[in-house]
Symmetry: C3
Subunit: 682 residues, 3 copies
């Protein structure tokens, strides 16, 4: 499928202990008179906090190369020595996330061009064209020097390529590269015209040079072009990443390489990038009012990107951020709970942005372990240091684990671009929110979930849920059918199976290549106005399948072609028509949800699936308590109380809490925001 | 008044039957392997649906001319033959609504420039500068070839020039043409300075070259310039249209010519364009939550553009559109009801966009007669085919009718631009909504309404209503006075009679040239903040003139100069001052409404006018039932039930329903969404 | 501190009477056939209205210089003569607020460039680059001709330079001037890098040419750059102003010079401009729903800009404006009340925009003394004329007064830019609203307030209130400490003392240089989400310090370092921590308010301060009545009733009302919107 097929194997991280630390930018302080003392104070405080890893040099290009022909590595030599003396290891940045001012001035084409054709001006970060040759040449030159100078340094643990990728550009050079990319994908221009159906509105291309990137003041109405351009942008960023990676793997084959993901970057297809990471790392910045399942969703996605391997929580704020409209403090205990939640979902690290609060710039009010006050006598420092001390209790056996879910949630970046492109019949689609709607229902039941791409094997799953799977290729449809025929359970929803991988509508009847698997035909769809709802009525009620529920967003008009209705709509001219269907196909079964049920309806649906498939939580816990299990030499249970009241959990056998070393025979009480990490007691 | 004075007479359409069909884009399917079968299937299904006219070739430029020096008419030859064999006629597009990619590449100046000076990029449709010479030359060359090749084809019924006009541009060439346009309008630069009052803010032009189009980053504060530029844009689009029309009339003088209007295009002055259409056609896309009077308003406008002639409903969706935030389905029966409503207001056709649903592009989810499923076994196809069968019952005698209203609603594009220009005392003006406010009050009473321009003769009307007539020329004011003096009834509202045709304030006292006709002087006006209301109190209460009503938006402070107050304001420092006035002038009378009454107040006002003037509905019907009358050899009544309950209508004489052929002696029952088309039974 | 240090002394205005009149633009009417009669009618009506001063020629550049080499002063000669004959004096504009069309055409670089790099097009006003040399050269040439021609004209009273300054630009020339400005401020590039902390994100400048203005598509993340650019823009506008002023002072040293401020222009630092004005003048356009304290706030700011001198109310509308979303009329009496409120706060004039309503253009619906009706028989004209007659009663003794407050509110433009820059921890900061929140609490108690800059002497004040004083330099902090030590009372709030004058965070503990003065350390801050509140509980309750109050926006976590808590927070994890503190330092005291109390809480705080410091109103009046005192040879009390009911005020001694000449022995009744101006009766 992808542009970059091969998975390169790099070094693999071992975990004698959990990583603990954060981003460290000592060069920001070299303008201060007393910067040497500040650096010394950093060392003292890092030891005090229990830091064992820092991310260094992420934005140091200008500090390392103040002119094209001049390099100043000496300060980095010094700080690496100072860290090494404290046994603090380094995740070393390639420093290419922000080019120096001299570079933008000497090579103005490095600056990206927006979709209207306006070239950016110098400044900020990630402000470069992802295909620019000069940027790549100069960046790679720096990377080679860093690798050669520090490849054998005793402090070096991990390479950190660039930072939070995501530049976009629409310049002439990108347009030229895009055409080459399209030639690879489509071969002949006639094939591109056929796939994009350019005959509509007379847009047939008769020369490759006529193909331009999408633009809001040009071609904005071809979903296929838009989706291909998103694919292209992800690939071009990946190409830039791989350019640096190739050098690092050549010069330092023993050192693992990665770049840090953050949020869910629309422009970067994580599934396509994951094979090229030696370890997955992620920057976690949940909104102050995000529910805990939202962090869990992201953590599970990171975990799933490299199955059976740990990942790294590389950044989070110890207290607050500064970039939202409102940036309240994390309340006492929240940072600790969120950190353990990451471990509970497979992370082997707790890292922060950043070590010392910046004195200026955009992020000067972003929380840090060491605040502007400059000392350790703050609530935040104390909470961090306490956590650092606790993490020392994590032995290697607790970290060499894996997690395998029996349930998968299917997600895909091209499908995201498709579902949210501006020409769909409803402008209210929010693909990630829909995934999280289903994820939340599973999370509340403490059912472990992998988040997988439609191109991955489904063999190891009992249940695969694929909400809003609008884009389905012939091959993907066949693989899903094969999975069901062999005994799997597959669930999908409205607006699925409607377009192929080139965004051409499936003809002959929706849901296209899923139609036979689901045993239905969707004749029509009715996107509901905001605020309008319909009702779902369960048919053939049983104990775990009953009631009526509100639904919204969309109603399909479904014909049964072998499937049977589990629920029907209650209103409108399609009252009584199927709303949820079930179909037995081969050894397996499939479900279709023709609307968006409310949370209670979804809970009932999951309840039914859970009891049919025998899915269970690791431990039985009260609502609001999260429990996960990491399997390895020791089976480790993570218990997290997200509620403001103490919760009691019954234990099936005596267990020991890793943090307190106490043994609990029958039950354990978790205080508000409390955490327990339990292993078999005997 | 206008830039293009002459009305060219073209061919006139005859109607042996109502047209039924839709947009047909067979070239979209030529990329498919089995496109020949698809075309054959189209023919079969068209016959099944009762299609007798298709709009063909609207966006086929690239398919007809893949390079500047290469033409490929063969496919069009074929499809025209296939259609002709089925006795399906063709409304043939000139294919100039979207230029091919090669054209934009070869002539980059064809692309329009926005008001900030940024040139568009290629793509989408209607994406050209309306004054560009190369676009016109190449387009006209194609038109000539089409006319010469197909002018005598037996399938050709009607020319369809371009599609839904409306391009705007602010390029250097437009600026140059604008200056020429201004020279024609104003003669000398001194006269332009005088009319635009450029002495304000030192903007006096001393050379024609200094005159630039309006721009939000330039001259955005001269309403006169903005309004003239809107006039200019409408004229330049018309000039482009006439360029194609001239060729068609030269080569095929026997074939009628038109372009299709849609919605209410701000940039296109329909009144100025109408004389150059051989028949008016319109694309109807009411919002899902639009009330039925809104469609009626548009239908009546289309009907009024060419008095005493039928018009064509050229596009509507059979099910749903895809371009709004929310695009619910038309419920069963709604499409039929809306189609008959068009006929009830003078249309002689029911056409759809489009025949076969597109497989890609922006409109791929737009409803079509033949959906992606590709066959006739769908609700939508069945409803369309049923309607097609019904329409066969319409004989020529039912179609050769006219409609003449006794009431006119005055509307003007320059006045629209004026009322909604951004420098008025209230930013809450919505000219069309205000017209529809008055229209609705008439529609609810089933009083037939013409919608006319201030430049048309008023002689045939008992009552002329001109809401928000802000811009009134000396001549228009005189014509209105003459109309009243000779016995007419004229009603206007607040914010009227304030500027002349060049947007210069009328001095000496508002409402300027209407002051003598109305017998009032408006000393001050008080634009009300949103949410603020005042109250209207009726004076000299009678049975059909009584009560108090809420009003909003604006209150004038009116002095009576001969008029008398019919209602007064209830609050604020102008409590007790006239809110509605009446004046007897010559043989007629005039009314002034100094505020925006709520719906109940407006209903009372119309009630009073109706009883005074003896205006009546064609039949007496319950509220929610619409009734219109088409006069001709047969008097035909259209009854439309917009309610979800069955309605009973008493008949003054026995009548036959054209659709069912049943005779009703005294009464007829209309089911929900039901329609009856009644002619005298004997 | 400032870029322009020297205060030039110009002529000083004397006030034999209050100025009364308005903007007069006779050249707008020279396009009319009967313009001579209109001018004559203007003279008659001005005398009728009591006009004694008009602002003339503000936008007359094109009328005075229709081509670069041609001047047409004759019409101005004429109108000056006509005015002089009527004993009407002139505030003569330099006509440079809007350049003629020929100038923009001949010198296209005169047009400003926006922050994205897009150059404006010609048109509107204030549409020039503030550093452009051609604009300045041509403008100064015109100014010299005006000064030489009219400097000795008997009608000339005052020079009015440009109008409502505020152009911004980001062109290459501005960038070059900005670099020079930065060199003056920082000396070496290394110092700029150190102060802006450019090491963050690798933005270190290695050549001055790399420094660019801020841009939303370039460097938008450096608050220090943004704030310096705002300083620069204010300085460049001032430089342009001073260029004209220098000529006027050279040619006409006897004539006072000023430009008119309006609203609170973000781009113009009024404190930096005030020393270069011979008199402060202001254009007053309160929103229709503004409370009277908001006008008072602005009036007091104008008064404070030149201590102990009167200022001029140069513009206000007699009825309504046209530029808001909603533009209701000023109700009868409101214009009079607002005019006297200006006099009550130190103005010696009541002037209007404008004399005669414009016939076209953006402001054609803006209210005027003479409306489009063109005569005096209107409510508005009558109210104006009545006021003009009243003002004749103001003798010189009433105008030669001063006002000195004992309370100061601290305000600063750089602090405004800082508090509202987009990278603060809360996007809900509204600096002016916060100042007005405190101002309102004082105003409601009729406590006179000066509004001062942090760089002014604090010696004459008992109480200094400095809300949101985020930016505090070392020197400012020291001055405040010195003031408190010597006995002053200082109050500041949350988000204060956090950055220095270059926007670098204060290290070591907030509030930086105010920490010792306040006796506290702010460890953390918690920006509250919108709609979230906390509670303030007063400690050690007394009669004038008790209760609990809601607070919002922000809560600091405060450590007491000598201070004591006056109130504590009621909720969240910092419940019980100090919310308001008090500290005795030297002979004085300081207060810190760690949140935003609601109006009741602020009133309680002011109540406590008032009783402690013995602050009193000039007279005891009921709530809703405003009272001020102008001191001079006569002590004059202004009583203003802002309520719709009559109010009774008890007098401490018999007083005479200047307007009615009546003597009141013990009490006076003020009707709704009524005014009394009282002097000692005997």
């Amino acid at each position: 499928m992808g542009y970059y097929q091969a998975e390169r194997r790099g070094g693999r991280l071992r975990f004698p202990a959990a990583f603990f630390g954060g981003d460290y930018n000592p060069e920001q302080w070299m303008g201060d008179k007393n910067w040497r003392e500040i650096w010394q104070e950093d060392m003292r405080l890092m030891c005090k906090a229990g830091v064992n890893l820092v991310s260094l040099g992420i934005f140091s290009w200008a500090a390392l190369q103040p002119a094209e022909d001049r390099f100043t590595f000496e300060w980095l030599d010094d700080i690496l020595e100072m860290l090494a003396e404290q046994q603090i290891e380094v995740c070393l940045g390639t420093a290419t996330a922000a080019q120096p001012a001299w570079l933008s001035a000497a090579y103005p084409d490095v600056l990206p061009v927006d979709e209207k054709g306006m070239r950016h001006k110098p400044g900020v970060r990630l402000n470069y064209c992802p295909t620019n040759e000069d940027f790549r040449r100069l960046g790679q030159d720096l990377v080679r020097r860093l690798a050669e100078r520090y490849g054998d340094h005793r402090a070096l643990r991990l390479w950190h390529v660039s930072n939070e990728y995501g530049p976009t550009c629409y310049c002439e050079h990108c347009a030229m590269r895009f055409r080459d990319w399209l030639k690879l994908r489509y071969g002949r221009l006639e094939e591109l015209n056929r796939c994009w159906i350019t005959a509509i509105w007379s847009r047939t291309y008769t020369d490759w040079e006529q193909v331009q990137p999408p633009s809001s003041i040009g071609e904005y109405s071809l979903p296929a072009l838009q989706i291909d351009y998103q694919r292209f942008l992800s690939d071009m960023n990946l190409e830039g990443y791989l350019g640096e990676v190739a050098i690092l793997r050549e010069v330092t084959p023993h050192v693992p390489v990665m770049t840090n993901f953050h949020g869910l970057t629309r422009y970067i297809d994580y599934f396509a990038w994951a094979p090229h990471q030696d370890i997955i790392s992620w920057d976690s910045y949940p909104r102050h009012n995000a529910t805990p399942d939202m962090a869990a969703f992201h953590y599970d996605l990171m975990r799933s990107l490299k199955p059976r391997q740990p990942w790294l929580l590389l950044e989070q704020t110890p207290s607050q951020v500064q970039w939202h409209q409102e940036n309240p403090l994390k309340r006492p205990g929240v940072m600790r709970l969120q950190s353990y939640q990451a471990l509970a979902h497979g992370s082997n690290s707790v890292m922060f942005f950043q070590w010392r609060q910046a004195r200026g710039g955009r992020e000067m009010y972003h929380g840090a372990i060491v605040s502007h006050a400059g000392h350790e006598h703050t609530r935040v420092f104390q909470e961090v240091a306490q956590l650092g001390a606790e993490l020392k209790l994590f032995e290697s056996a607790l970290l060499e684990t894996h997690m395998q879910a029996r349930v998968a949630l299917m997600m895909s970046w091209p499908n995201w671009w498709t579902v949210e492109n501006r020409h769909t019949p409803s402008r209210y689609f929010n693909y990630i929110a829909e995934l999280q709607h289903y994820y939340r229902a599973l999370w509340q039941r403490n059912i472990a979930v992998d988040i997988i791409s439609p191109d991955q094997s489904l063999d190891s799953y009992q249940l695969v849920i694929a909400p809003l799977l609008n884009m389905v290729s012939e091959e993907q449809g066949a693989a899903i059918e094969q999975y069901v025929k062999e005994g799997g359970t597959f669930l999908t929803t409205y607006f699925s199976g409607m377009v192929d991988e080139n965004h051409r509508a499936w003809l002959g009847g929706y849901p296209g290549p899923l139609r036979r698997t689901l045993g239905i035909w969707v004749e029509e769809f009715d996107p509901l106005p905001l605020g309008t709802t319909n009702t779902l009525f369960c048919l053939q009620e049983t104990d775990d399948w009953r009631g009526s529920y509100s639904c919204e967003q969309w109603c399909d008009i479904v014909h049964l072609e072998g499937a049977q209705a589990l629920a029907v709509f209650g209103q409108d001219f399609y009252a009584g028509r199927p709303a949820i269907t079930e179909f037995h196909h081969g050894l397996g079964q499939s479900f279709y949800v023709a609307t968006r049920p409310d949370a209670a309806g979804l809970d009932m649906l999951l309840n039914m699936l859970q009891s049919r498939l025998g899915l269970s939580a690791p431990l039985l816990v009260p609502p609001g308590v999260e429990v996960t299990c990491r399997e390895g030499r020791l089976t480790t249970y993570f218990l997290l109380n997200h509620l403001p009241e103490t919760q009691m959990i019954m234990l099936p056998e005596p267990m020991r809490d890793v943090l307190t070393r106490r043994v609990y025979e029958q039950e354990i009480q978790l205080p508000p925001l409390g955490v327990a990490i339990l292993i078999p007691a005997y």
